[in-house]
């Protein structure tokens, strides 16, 4: 058993609307996996189905080999899920919430050292006895993450964990997640910060309109869908002329900079030739590497 999570032929319909359309996806144990997609793509529905909060219309899901419906107790023991919504219980403080959360999973005093470690790693120690209601938005987000980790689950699922979170916490959180990943925890992440997914996740699945539209190693995915940007420093008064000459290309002109999206690297020569032929002067020229954001936009556009 080497799979941490397996989605098999998963569909989910709400009346006539099909939110998830037959997704097959396996996430290996120990992986740092990114699940990307625009709003409403079906990412949270997938996570909610994994968590047992939403029932799939068809198909099966397993977490650490346990069916999330038939053996939900075992599967939920293996999962630590950070929900997307900033929810909290106003009756209790941070430490109480963490101890309750661990207690639901049968963990008691023997787990207190782990809870202290999470509080420390997420910079929450000083807020341990603060009522949840009195925490700022960023602090509430930390507490939400801390709660999901309280029972030390082997699989950690973070649904948009850095939305509205400052840079410092984001870095702190990711370094903690990398540590946990190095210790063998499987991490599944959904995020809108594509550069985060690019730097953290070894493999990425992209979901759009309820379908899995791409699934590959992050580097391969970027390379496979590679589009380079060509940036040329121009004189702004040539703008109209350039637009006419390069009407066959996808271009952007702003702040005396002409940006052209290259489908193939061979296009570079023909563009320079065209500019020379038409006596367009340029002061600087450079190409930039493709990033996940470009790939993401390309794929979701299709």
């Amino acid at each position: 058993m080497s799979k941490a999570i397996v989605f098999k032929n998963i569909t989910k319909s709400y009346g006539a609307v099909q939110a998830v359309k037959g997704i097959n996806l396996s996430i290996e144990k120990g992986e740092f996996f990114g699940l990307l997609g625009p709003n409403g793509a079906g990412k949270s529905t997938l996570i909610n189905m994994l968590a047992g909060i939403v029932k799939p219309s068809s198909g099966t899901i397993t977490a650490m080999g346990h069916d999330v419906e038939k053996h939900y107790q075992e599967s939920r023991h293996s999962l630590g899920i950070v929900p997307q919504e900033l929810v909290f219980d106003p009756f209790f403080n941070v430490l109480e919430m963490m101890r309750f959360q661990a207690g639901y999973f049968g963990k008691g005093k023997e787990n207190y050292a782990w809870i202290d470690e999470i509080l420390d790693k997420l910079d929450l120690t000083e807020k341990a006895y603060t009522n949840m209601r009195k925490l700022s938005g960023g602090m509430k987000r930390r507490a939400l993450i801390a709660q999901a980790l309280a029972h030390k689950p082997p699989v950690i699922v973070l649904d948009e964990p850095t939305a509205g979170v400052d840079v410092e916490l984001r870095q702190r959180l990711w370094s903690f997640m990398k540590d946990l990943n190095n210790q063998g925890h499987t991490i599944v992440l959904t995020t809108h910060y594509l550069e985060e997914a690019e730097s953290l996740c070894k493999r990425i699945g992209m979901v759009n309109k309820g379908k899995l539209i791409a699934l590959d190693d992050t580097k391969k995915l970027i390379k496979r869908n590679a589009v380079k940007n060509l940036n040329i420093k121009i004189n702004q008064r040539d703008e109209l002329k350039i637009r006419k000459i390069l009407s066959n290309f996808e271009i952007l002109i702003a702040n005396e900079c002409l940006t052209i999206t290259l489908e193939k690297i061979d296009e570079l020569n023909s563009i320079i030739e065209l500019l020379k032929e038409n006596k367009i002067k340029f002061n600087d020229i450079q190409t930039t590497e493709p990033d996940l954001e470009k790939v993401f936009l390309e794929l979701t556009k299709k």
């Binding site: 029932k55 929810v87 219980d89 009756f91 639901y104 049968g106």
Partner: protein, 258 residues
């Protein structure tokens, strides 16, 4: 298979959380209903003590106390489970429980026991204040205990069902004002149903609150409008039916899991 120690710890944690939840706002959840109960007692006994005798040899104020205790117990058992659930749903923090391996039965029993504890705590507080100045015997303590437990359980279960059903606070308020309040006020708290016209006596017999209050009162005075065995059986049957429904709703995830 998850071992029983883990299961027991899980249930205990949820129960502890539910008990702490009402204890954190003890002025609202215990002190306020105790004051209300005592005020009813003071006003009604002042007005009616010298004029009314429902049971022979029992002062009206003494007659009133068991009814008030039971009414408060029932209302607070209902309020505990229903308000906890509806608040968690509206605020979204119900997800903290839904993500756990707790089974529907663990969920049910933790909410049920917390509701019974709050109901009995409120009832006991009213009793302790009342006996400071009114002489109140307890002829059959086991009946008192049985009806208190079963009444708390029945309304705690009813609260779970209402909490699952309601999506908003106003729906819950409607449930409380249009169902719980009329049923508890028209159940014989302030009178014996024998004092009612025959038609209303019949109508009262369809009210499950009547049996809980009548049977509970029997425990204090050894006198009741109908046999306590019948009351106990009816309350028990109602509890089993409602518990079956609540467990079914929790098992299917009705309004909790999409």
């Amino acid at each position: 298979m998850i071992n029983w120690k883990i299961q027991a710890k899980g249930t205990w944690t949820l129960l502890k959380k539910e008990l702490l939840r009402f204890w954190r706002v003890v002025f609202q959840t215990v002190a306020a209903p105790v004051i209300t109960g005592i005020l009813y007692l003071l006003i009604f006994s002042h007005v009616l003590d010298s004029r009314t005798e429902v049971y022979e040899g029992v002062a009206y104020s003494a007659f009133l106390i068991p009814g008030l205790i039971m009414m408060s117990l029932l209302q607070n058992s209902f309020a505990n489970s229903s308000s906890s659930l509806v608040q968690s749903k509206v605020m979204g923090n119900i997800v903290f429980i839904l993500l756990t391996p707790l089974t529907y039965l663990q969920f049910f029993f933790a909410f049920l026991i917390a509701a019974i504890v709050r109901g009995i705590f409120v009832g006991l507080s009213i009793y302790l204040v009342a006996i400071l100045y009114i002489d109140l015997p307890i002829v059959h303590p086991w009946y008192v205990a049985s009806f208190a437990l079963l009444g708390g359980a029945l309304l705690g279960t009813f609260g779970i069902i209402a909490g699952i059903w309601a999506d908003r606070f106003d729906q819950m308020a409607a449930f409380q004002n249009f169902v719980i309040m009329p049923l508890s006020f028209l159940s014989g708290v302030f009178y014996s149903i024998h004092s009612l016209p025959p038609v209303w006596q019949k109508v009262s017999q369809f009210n499950p609150f009547f049996y809980m209050i009548d049977g509970f009162r029997y425990g204090f005075f050894g006198v009741s409008d109908i046999s306590p065995y019948i009351s106990l059986t009816i309350v028990l049957v109602f509890f089993i039916l409602l518990a079956g429904l609540a467990i079914r709703l929790l098992k299917t995830g009705y309004k909790l899991r999409g």
